[in-house]
Symmetry: C2
Subunit: 332 residues, 2 copies
């Protein structure tokens, strides 16, 4: 049986380009004891992949050259030698950019019911995006009712979930985004109280001062750079900041910017880096919460789905350039 997959051919130099990847076909190995074969229906495309394919210091080992690109996926088990994973069950986990994924239990996060929500949602608002939003906001920012919560990339899959979960917790939400189209969706669909198109204001820090004169209590940052700087100038005392991503910062050389030590001191603020993998022991528990809100209509999402495995590298380049709207997925 023939598999189709995308492998990593070389590591990025400065920027991520499509030619780092190659589409290949190859025979699938025999299923060994405890393994099972998943027919993958959707795979995820994430900003974090920039780090996964780089050999710079990172939180996980880089994807080896010539191996299948690492990614989350959702699919149906079509063959199994593991009594805990039966044919026709649906699973979410590290399936990789490939049509068929031969895996063991260690690669799987959860089984899902394919009828409760569309399959694709399990990779976005009910998947890594939603779980990232939840853990960063709830475990690190610890929002209280009426706190002012600001999130960057507010129209994105993580940002939009942060905004909605913050509303569920009774907070006032401010989103930063890059286009008027995204701003409109943030207001109408994701219920943000305030949205700023940061590209259309002269002085982001001053704009924030006007709409949040008492300062930001919780800051969920996916970007870094000058947006980060502007928010840091508008913290409330005892602010909690989660660094979830740095998509607005070049990979190297290490960018320079205003030192934040004195701000942290004066505001007695707290910053923490978030890696969602650290919270995977609570995946099922958080998934259940997100699914409940989803079913109640409190947690909606946009998806940007490209068709066919071979579109995955171009989709990755797109999201790193901020050209997508919502969770980027590939349908196989």
């Amino acid at each position: 049986m023939v598999n189709r997959k995308i492998i990593l051919k070389k590591r990025p130099f400065k920027t991520v380009t499509e030619d780092l990847f190659q589409y290949i076909t190859e025979e699938i190995d025999e299923i060994r004891d405890s393994q099972f074969l998943v027919d993958v229906e959707y795979v995820s495309v994430d900003p974090a992949m920039r780090g996964w394919i780089s050999d710079a210091g990172n939180y996980s080992k880089p994807v080896p050259i010539n191996s299948t690109m690492r990614s989350f996926g959702v699919g149906k088990i079509i063959s199994s030698k593991n009594k805990n994973f039966k044919v026709n069950e649906y699973v979410v986990g590290w399936l990789g950019w490939q049509k068929f994924s031969l895996v063991d239990e260690s690669k799987i996060q959860i089984k899902i019911n394919p009828t409760t929500a569309p399959l694709s949602k399990n990779l976005g608002v009910l998947g890594l995006s939603g779980i990232t939003a939840f853990t960063g906001l709830i475990n690190i920012c610890k929002p209280k009712k009426n706190d002012v919560v600001l999130v960057t990339t507010a129209a994105g899959s993580v940002g939009s979930a942060v905004g909605q979960i913050a509303k569920i917790y009774g907070c006032r939400t401010i989103g930063l985004t890059s286009t008027n189209e995204k701003a409109t969706i943030c207001k109408s669909k994701f219920g943000f109280d305030e949205i700023i198109n940061y590209r259309q204001v002269n002085n982001l820090s001053e704009s924030l001062k006007k709409i949040a004169p008492n300062g930001i209590d919780c800051f969920f940052d996916n970007v870094g750079g000058t947006q980060f700087d502007a928010v840091m100038e508008n913290l409330n005392v005892k602010a909690r900041i989660v660094i979830c991503g740095t998509i607005g910062m070049p990979s190297f050389p290490i960018p320079i910017g205003p030192r934040i030590n004195r701000t942290l001191l004066i505001k007695r603020a707290k910053i923490e880096g978030l890696l969602v993998l650290d919270y995977f022991s609570k995946y099922q528990e958080i998934y259940n919460k997100l699914l409940k809100w989803y079913v109640e209509g409190k947690l909606v999402s946009e998806e940007d789905i490209s068709d066919g495995l071979e579109t995955a590298p171009a989709s990755l380049v797109n999201i790193l350039n901020g050209l997508n709207l919502g969770k980027q997925l590939v349908k196989l």
Copy 2:
């Protein structure tokens, strides 16, 4: 009855200089109900005073022009109209740079026994320095046995207490300091496992890599700037960093340096600004712990005591230039 005091005449421009202050004498007011008069024996001189006399944004209101310089002090009650504070009792609190302090209860942190430890220790290792060290290390860094703890200004009153408390908690301690004389004291008196004179190494980051190849778990920073940068390059995963001071950073313009967002993300590290005033509700409790260690000989300290109230402004300039050794006090 005539008081002697030092008042603030003007705010600093760039650097703190002696001529910002003026020594004056004036009549003491009548004691009103609930007040008492303290004969001040020692006053404290602290790096934080740079912030207190500035009108830049800070955690407390700036010291008003023409008013007594704010400071901690220790002294004996010599007259009282407050039944809870009796003549001959000793108190520690916000007594100011003055010989006689007419205060009410709100200015006092604790009463002390003047025979358990020398009076001056209540302003240093058993005072703000010790309480700052304890709260930053224990409440924010939360050290575990065998953690590697690094502290800047290791010979200073806060730094030396951090090192010793970390040893009490079973940690390995690394100190950064600026002279060989201080380095020797850090090793022989404060028991640091490793000391680096940062002025005598070519590449601080590389030096740290050699003595802490697995990285720094707890980083207690009093400095900011390039020492901060070097430590940030050597964090262990899940490092905890407390920003206690920024004495190595100019007040303005806001200095620039390497952005730390990606380091925080990759290391899932946490940084928090410490203001010891936030922990004053636990002052007595922490004091009791410090006093126990002091009596057991586990918590020693250096003091740099200048003689006479009029020396206070020069002493402040000295410590801001790193010229003191140990807790800077003025004996009145």
